[in-house]
Symmetry: C2
Subunit: 597 residues, 2 copies
């Protein structure tokens, strides 16, 4: 059975020594997040996910969710009880506003915990994850009354939430949606239509489910500009807050899918269900994007979390499995074979995962810090810069983390050879679970278009300029340092590739937009490499500082430097190929007629 050990030491290092959350102690939320409290949260959080949730991960996959004869849905064995514990311990409300019963801690701390939660049990983690998205939308655009009515119960966890966008004929292109909301005399709406792929769509873990549903009113334009957002509770809510009648929304079926079997992906049928407009009429897309952006960062974390747990298991197997001899001579001469971790190609896969995991963790937490700063930053400049940066980071974290998460899960499976292909070892579940993250909340291709078509040109390119100057500053500050110099020299090369690719886009994409589309995925990967290079630079510097201080675990810091060097020598060099692909343009890509395929 697979194992999982939350990487608390690494998280703490990143929080305290790389992004240095103590520097923000004067800000709301951060004032509470003392080192002792953060340390207690990470320790308690790991214990909970390791002991309660991880043992349910294979059960969730094997048994999955069941739609019963009466149309109700039962979560996998143990999920309901674990969710009750999860809520009782207050994990759902970690970074939620204290006003509504949350603990009011910074988002960056909740993000650290969320990684562990997903590693232990991705399908489980989606239930509270979807609720977080729904809470964010209600808080952003709901009336005071709506917030009071729904948010406290959702923070408590007794009610959960969902996002309802997709319909059979309408995925990425929401303008095509057909679900209708007809106004009623009492100010409510009758919502009718079919929504598909609704994660956590129905289950028995919470007492009520608050569906957030995109629909069109009869007099709205039949396009993306005619979409409004509605709250449709599974059970209607009486004025005193108690639960009333079952609403006319039902689970038509649970999708049979490749992975995340523990999460109920439902077809939801709305048959004149009672709904309530939330936010302004025809401004549904704006509200949905609030949920979506938070959700995209969460999905990015899934990439990291699965990569982490899969590579932990691969490393454990590689240390134990005796097979063959080291090329450099026996390392375990008393036995008939050496552990396979002596083989460079096994190392290659483990080091690729390690350099990704640690870099991604730093980037995810730095990104989460930006989310905090958009709210609690102490000047408008700080808040604006954070807004710019998280805008740029979101598509990169979503797409790059999940592409690499899947790749690393696949490599981790490879380390086990044939055993990796067999269900009982759990490795193939990681691969199947990781796969969805490249697809949902906007496919990775859509993320790349969002980056190139929306985030780069926004505000005259301000976000990218800001980011490039941060990286440029880091390079100049460290280029003359004996240890850091050779590392940032490589970062500087990758940065040049990014700048050249950006110039190419500016010169070639306006006149011919297909060039932007063709370049988008390699461009996103190129930017991701620079971002990782920047994080690894900061990690290396923090490690050097740690060694200089002479406190703590010297080996830990030295391993960071080795991994940084590995990243710069083996992984960052890919930047030149992404640049070449950007500059290769769209001509041959688009030249064939559609019928030729």
């Amino acid at each position: 059975m697979p194992i999982y050990k939350a990487p608390v030491e690494d998280t703490s290092f990143i929080l305290n020594e790389v992004i240095r959350i103590a520097d923000y102690a004067h800000l709301a939320g951060f004032d509470e997040a003392t080192p002792d409290l953060v340390s207690a949260i990470l320790e308690e959080g790991s214990k909970f996910v390791e002991e309660v949730l991880q043992p349910l991960n294979q059960v969730g996959d094997d048994i999955g969710c069941v739609r019963n004869a009466d149309g109700s849905v039962t979560a996998p064995p143990g999920f309901k009880e674990a969710y009750k514990e999860f809520c009782a311990a207050g994990w759902q409300g970690l970074a939620q506003s204290a006003e509504f019963g949350g603990q009011g801690l910074p988002h960056v701390i909740a993000t650290a915990f969320e990684e562990y939660l997903i590693s232990a049990n991705m399908a489980f983690a989606m239930y509270p994850g979807l609720t977080h998205g729904a809470i964010a939308a209600i808080q952003a655009v709901g009336s005071q009354e709506q917030q009071q009515r729904y948010v406290p119960k959702m923070i408590e966890g007794v009610w959960s939430g969902t996002m309802n966008l997709t319909e059979p004929q309408c995925g990425t292109d929401l303008g095509l949606l057909r679900t209708k909301a007809e106004p009623q005399a009492d100010g409510s709406y009758r919502v009718s239509g079919t929504k598909i792929f609704i994660s956590a769509g129905d289950h028995d873990m919470s007492e009520n489910i608050i569906h957030l549903v995109l629909a069109k009113m009869p007099d709205s334009p039949d396009s993306v500009r005619g979409i409004s957002l509605f709250i449709v509770p599974k059970f209607l809510i009486n004025d005193d807050g108690s639960l009333g009648a079952r609403n006319q929304v039902s689970c038509g079926s649970i999708e049979k899918k490749m992975g995340i079997h523990g999460n109920a992906t439902c077809v939801l049928n709305y048959d004149g269900a009672t709904g309530y407009l939330i936010g302004e009429k025809e401004k549904g897309m704006r509200a949905m994007f609030i949920m979506m952006n938070a959700a995209r960062l969460g999905v990015g974390l899934q990439g990291l979390a699965i990569s982490e747990v899969a590579s932990q298991n691969a490393a454990g197997y590689a240390r134990d499995r005796l097979q063959g001899r080291a090329l450099s001579g026996p390392k375990n001469a008393d036995d008939k074979a050496d552990p396979i971790i002596v083989h460079p190609d096994v190392r290659r896969m483990l080091m690729n995962a390690r350099a990704f995991n640690e870099g991604a963790r730093a980037l995810a937490l730095w990104g989460a810090l930006q989310v905090d700063l958009t709210h609690c930053g102490d000047t408008p400049e700080v808040r604006d810069e954070a807004e710019d940066l998280i805008g740029l980071l979101t598509p990169v974290i979503k797409a790059f983390f999940t592409d690499k998460g899947f790749e690393n899960a696949t490599n981790a499976q490879q380390c086990l050879g044939g055993h990796g292909y067999i269900r009982e070892w759990g490795m193939e579940q990681f691969v199947r679970d990781a796969r969805i993250a490249m697809i949902y909340e906007g496919t990775n291709g859509i993320q790349a278009l969002d980056l190139v078509g929306r985030k780069l040109p926004a505000k005259g390119g301000r976000a990218l300029r800001t980011y490039l100057s941060i990286v440029g500053r880091f390079i100049s500050e460290h280029k003359d340092d004996e240890t850091m110099g050779p590392l940032v020299a490589k970062l500087s090369e990758a940065l040049s590739d990014l700048q050249a690719a950006t110039s190419w886009l500016m010169s070639n994409a306006m006149a011919k937009p297909d060039n932007a589309g063709a370049a988008s995925v390699p461009y996103l990967h190129l930017m991701a490499l620079v971002m990782f290079g920047h994080m690894w630079g900061q990690i290396a510097r923090a490690a050097l500082d740690g060694i200089k201080r002479g406190e703590g675990d010297a080996k830990f810091y030295e391993n960071k430097l080795i991994t940084a060097r590995y990243f710069y020598s083996h992984m960052l060099s890919e930047s030149s190929v992404h640049r070449a692909r950007v500059e290769a343009g769209s001509e041959t890509m688009m030249a064939l007629e559609a019928e030729a395929f």
Copy 2:
């Protein structure tokens, strides 16, 4: 439900215009393979796999193989009947020797058909595939009497075959195997032990199963040098050739695995089963490598075949699914959205698959031609060169084709968005099925070690020298051609990367073997790119010749040129990164202590 249409036009183009099998018409086997016969085989073969086998592919996945209460194993519904048809039509014996009832056609023709077979139903194709491997071993090392006894029935298909290498404690490192074969007074052996991961290990499709089993005799060294090969039939065979008693080999269980559910992957328990030594005592590894090398080429084909069928389905979906508008303006103005094939990033995934599929098909068939030439080449020089080339090609075809096959299946799934993750569309089955090919018959990491550690240094590096001079000659012949010049210029760059990486290996791997291990996978991918560049050059030249002749389908030839240009501009440039990774060496890769992971 997924579709499949065998790419007969492309196969015919490669056979007739790229590798030009007519040039070999003077050789045994090829003399029979007239253009009309080959065309009839490809047409009949496609019809059979499209109509009979492809419709069983999802059934095989959903229902899988069943181990019954009495220990017998039942193949998925329809498999037994389809296999009977397959055998009756003579497909099993296409390239088998006429002496034993086969049709005696060249291996290259059988390979063309085998691709179709796998695309239609990979799990099914493994049953005859394993039998082919067993036939090859029996023909190579079996006595005349053994050949007469087993081979005709296996060519007919009424008996099938398996390969038994792996044991719980022993995968890649066969020296660790424990299965024992004790000599009996009558010249037979009592075979005892447990073999795992035995594909097509037990089923009801054939009347008997001929297991080829690696085991050690009591007086043999307990290492790889002590391994002998044994024939262990499921049912003993009477002197008149009829079936006798059930042998003491039984299926302990069927593995639950990620994919290829339609193939019974068995734990086989040998409890003093009657076996017969085949080949010389303690020369079992040599015989096994005969099976293995053929099997590796077959596994490589699985990568191509799944990539082909998956991308056909992705292209079909992309032509039909309406979502969003082309960046360059509406292409389907009468409807509310354009088909997603207008989006460059969808094209990118389809073009990557197309350039791989067509290049891989050419390389696989050229490789298969070399296999033929090792047997029927008319001079020792021709046979030796073919032997060298297929030695070099085998690990590349096995590893690169299956890495890319999985990648392309994943991308094809991506083209369907959320629908790709749902079982009914069949795309996720392609991904799950494709995954095993990177693992079995020697993981792709082992293939890379075989290339770098065995195939490169063999005979003083003769094989690589031969191959490099073939590519070099192709470049000089075409560098001044107006159309071919710019293409071979890019091939020339990739070739320089390969030469530089080879020199680096020669200078750095002797003193420090870990450098060879660390470099092996990027080196293999670099060599594969050069091989593809070479094939695409030949395809482009054949297309130009076709256009010049002015016969046939001009569009077909023009599309080949476009795809060639796409390959050279978007895919071949990766060669520089592989070279950089080779040259980055093993130091940081190996520096961490095993406990740090």
